[in-house]
């Protein structure tokens, strides 16, 4: 049962990291134009970072 001491914190941390990523995507307006973002991947124009 000692394994629980590792496993439970690990599962919580992994879940928490996922949650933080989600919060980040919401904060940076990544759901404003889902259709456009899906199509932009097909365009031949590359730039260093996503446009704001």
């Amino acid at each position: 049962m000692n394994i629980l001491v590792f496993l439970i914190p690990i599962s919580l941390i992994l879940g928490g990291v996922g949650l933080l990523f989600f919060v980040y995507t919401v904060r940076t307006n990544q759901y404003d134009d889902p259709e456009g973002d899906a199509r932009r991947i097909l365009s031949g124009e590359y730039d260093d970072k996503p446009k704001q």
């Binding site: 049962m1 919580l12 928490g16 996922g18 919401v26 404003d32 134009d33 259709e35 199509r39 124009e45």
Partner: protein
């Protein structure tokens, strides 16, 4: 592309719209302005690239970004870049664009409430998954110290999550209780709080049953329902706002003999305003110079344009058709007749507020029911065992089991599916209970001009006029932009006629066009100008020299789908009425053409509203379809109302549903969709009740375990959501 990427200076769109900020932007030439264009044709990756590149190449443009979901381009540019130039740029590469008013759009640019709900939903989802993992271990046999530890960890996750994610429910419940009312959020809050409190108590006593997972799953499912509901309304709201933003409130004011473009809000009484042909009057006023014809159909329902010349009064909302007019403002903003009509709307608005939504009426039955049931089981078990702990545990189990998870999803899941379906057909559901009210409709009232008709005239008697006359008329009509002349031109061209040789053509705004043909003077214009008799129909008259004038008769072209919509409504057994401010002859003809049995002509705005209210008194549920200012009161008085996208802003605001395309046909099928949506909602209520009938006796008898609660809750929520997807 990266070279054009400068940091976004006006990060706050609302600041841009504020007049103070605008003035500031003008002083500091460096400050960029934001321009929004609606580009309805954009649909692919290549379009995005082409539009962004074309806009970025335009001098003065700092950055351009296309939003494909909204079909909108947002441009940051130096203040001297005019939206018209950018529209021209897009026109050259083959995309039609319209300017959007940034001030109107900015209100919903960041959907704060939606983002907040989404965040709470995500946190609740994360927490409930983790706690569920721990709970499953407990249910599958973890005992003693391990179980206690799992319960304590669950508590540590649950408490902060509930405190954060449950806030919308707590707030609503508190607001309801403060006003001594009960709503759905009161039992929800009570169930969540009671579940957490008893579980904490049980955990501290090393008890067997803890309901942490139930409290979290409850919060998660209910938040999902709230979020769906919010999304549906946010999409409708942003689409409605885009329609409003298409009318950019700008006017040309004459200052020291020069015209200057100013926002309508800055106009004051006494200003001289230039209204170009095709433009809408921004204010109430009096014509001081110029002659033209004025289309008053949106205000009165009259199809035939009226003559406008110096000294004549005009009202805001009227459209100037042929010649430029200079108007002296006599009333601006709130004082205009357009705005005064809003008072009529306020008086008439009752159909909506009288209606209680299905969810509310369910809550009214449900909330007291579960409270009484749970209180009774507490009292019963306390008298039976004299043990507060057992009694409280069972009362909490009853509240959790009966908690309206499925009820909370029953309505939003269906309305989301139905609104999405109707949106794809071109109908925008603006009001949250509009679907439910639409399903009850038994009487449909149509306005004529601009609603059943497209507002474009169509020539009727081309076959009865001599080829010579058509040729002369065509030559004269081609040089005019009057709607009758343009319609005559396209009809004659389509029928294969060619113009006669007419020279010295001049247009006399407000009257018609004159010219010289074979040495004789020829006229095409209104009856009084060519000494023709008045007839009841809309007509343009042609006079060749001293010959008797020849009439070209016009009728209003039917909007696409008008016949189908009326036929479908009649087939569905609805009573169809036609009410118009137009002349008796015109209305009677239209009613005959569409097979509408009941009609009312020359109706004043107040008449229309009174008739609709009288029908409501008879117990009818009236659907009003209208577009003009004269319809707004009737739109607001009706049980549910629809207006086309071409309608006046005031009419769109007063109606529950907006037709986005020019086609009327979706109205017929919308009633069907609304009907089946309501049937699904009722089915969902029955499913939720069925689960309660099975689970509640177990809970009251003290046999419910957290596992049974979790199963009942998830199963009912999922069944209800799946049932909503069955919507056809």
């Amino acid at each position: 592309m990266t070279a054009t990427m400068r940091p976004n200076i006006s990060a706050c769109p609302a600041c841009n719209a504020a007049p103070a900020a605008e003035a500031l932007a003008e002083r500091e030439a460096q400050k960029d302005v934001r321009i929004a264009l609606s580009v309805p044709a954009v649909h692919c990756a290549a379009c995005i690239v082409a539009i962004e590149r074309a806009l970025a190449d335009h001098p003065g443009v700092t950055s351009a970004r296309v939003n494909l979901t909204l079909k909108r381009a947002t441009i940051e540019a130096e203040p001297d870049v005019m939206p018209e130039d950018l529209i021209g740029v897009l026109d050259r590469i083959g995309y039609e664009a319209h300017e959007l008013d940034v001030g109107t759009l900015s209100a919903t640019q960041t959907d704060k409430a939606g983002r907040e709900l989404l965040m709470r939903l995500a946190v609740a989802g994360f927490a409930s998954m983790n706690v569920m993992l721990l709970s499953v271990s407990v249910w599958s046999g973890a005992a003693d110290a391990t179980r206690d530890m799992f319960h304590w960890i669950s508590a540590a996750i649950t408490l902060p999550t509930i405190a954060f994610s449950g806030q919308p429910f707590f707030r609503n419940a508190w607001a309801a209780l403060k006003n001594a009312r009960l709503n759905m959020d009161v039992p929800i809050t009570l169930a969540i709080v009671l579940a957490v409190v008893t579980s904490l108590w049980e955990t501290s006593l090393s008890g067997e049953h803890a309901y942490f997972d139930a409290a979290l799953a409850l919060t998660f499912f209910l938040l999902a329902g709230r979020y769906l509901d919010h999304r549906t309304r946010a999409i409708a709201r942003s689409a409605a706002e885009e329609l409003a933003a298409l009318e950019v409130p700008r006017a040309f004011r004459i200052e020291d003999g020069e015209e200057r473009q100013v926002p309508v809000a800055e106009l004051t009484v006494g200003d001289l305003i230039l209204v170009r042909p095709g433009g809408r009057m921004p204010v109430d006023g009096e014509i001081v110079a110029g002659t033209s014809e004025i289309d008053r159909s949106l205000l009165t329902g009259e199809t035939i344009p009226v003559y406008g010349g110096p000294g004549q009064a005009v009202s805001a909302g009227e459209v100037n058709l042929t010649g430029p007019l200079t108007v002296r403002a006599t009333a601006v903003g709130e004082e205009t007749s357009l705005h005064r009509m809003a008072d009529l709307v306020a008086i008439a608005e009752s159909g909506r507020s009288r209606y209680t939504s299905l969810a509310d009426s369910a809550a009214k039955l449900y909330a007291p029911g579960v409270h009484i049931l749970s209180a009774l089981s507490f009292v019963g078990w306390y008298l039976f065992t004299f043990d507060v702990r057992t009694a409280l545990n069972i009362a909490a189990a009853v509240l959790i089991i009966t908690c309206p998870c499925a009820l909370g999803l029953a309505v939003p899941a269906v309305t989301t599916a139905a609104s999405g379906r109707l949106f794809r057909k071109g109908m925008l559901i603006k009001h949250s209970t509009a679907l439910e009210r639409l399903a009850q409709v038994d009487t449909v009232v149509f306005d004529k001009t601009g609603t059943l008709t497209a507002g474009a005239p169509e020539v009727m008697n081309l076959g009865q006029v001599s080829t010579r006359d058509i040729g002369i008329a065509l030559a004269l009509a081609e040089s005019s932009s009057h709607p009758l002349a343009m319609s005559l031109t396209s009809a004659a061209r389509a029928a294969g006629f060619s113009p006669e040789d007419v020279s010295q053509i001049t247009e006399v705004p407000g009257y018609g066009t004159r010219g010289v043909w074979n040495g004789r003077e020829v006229f095409l214009g209104r009856a009084s100008w060519v000494d023709a008799p008045r007839i009841s129909r809309t007509a343009a008259w042609l006079r060749v020299g001293d010959e008797a004038p020849q009439a070209f008769e016009f009728t209003d072209r039917l909007r696409d789908g008008a016949e189908e919509a009326v036929a479908a409504l009649k087939a569905a057994g609805k009573d169809v009425y036609l009410m118009s401010g137009d002349t008796t002859a015109a209305v009677e003809e239209m009613a005959g053409r569409l097979g509408i049995p009941h009609w009312l002509a020359e109706a004043l705005p107040a008449d229309k509203a009174a008739r609709v209210q009288a029908m409501a008194k008879e117990g009818r549920h009236v659907l009003m379809v209208g577009d003009g200012l004269n319809d707004t009161a009737a739109l607001a008085a009706a049980h549910v109302s629809i207006s086309p996208a071409s309608a006046l802003d005031a009419a769109r605001v007063a109606s529950d549903i907006v037709l986005l395309g020019g086609d009327l046909e979706p109205i017929g099928s919308a009633l069907g969709t609304a009907g089946s949506a309501i049937r699904r909602i009722r089915e969902n209520f029955r499913i939720a009740t069925l689960y309660n009938i099975i689970a509640v006796p177990l809970a009251v008898a003290g046999l419910a375990t957290p596992l049974i609660a979790a199963l009942a809750m998830s199963a009912s929520s999922i069944t209800v959501s799946l049932n909503a997807l069955r919507l056809r």
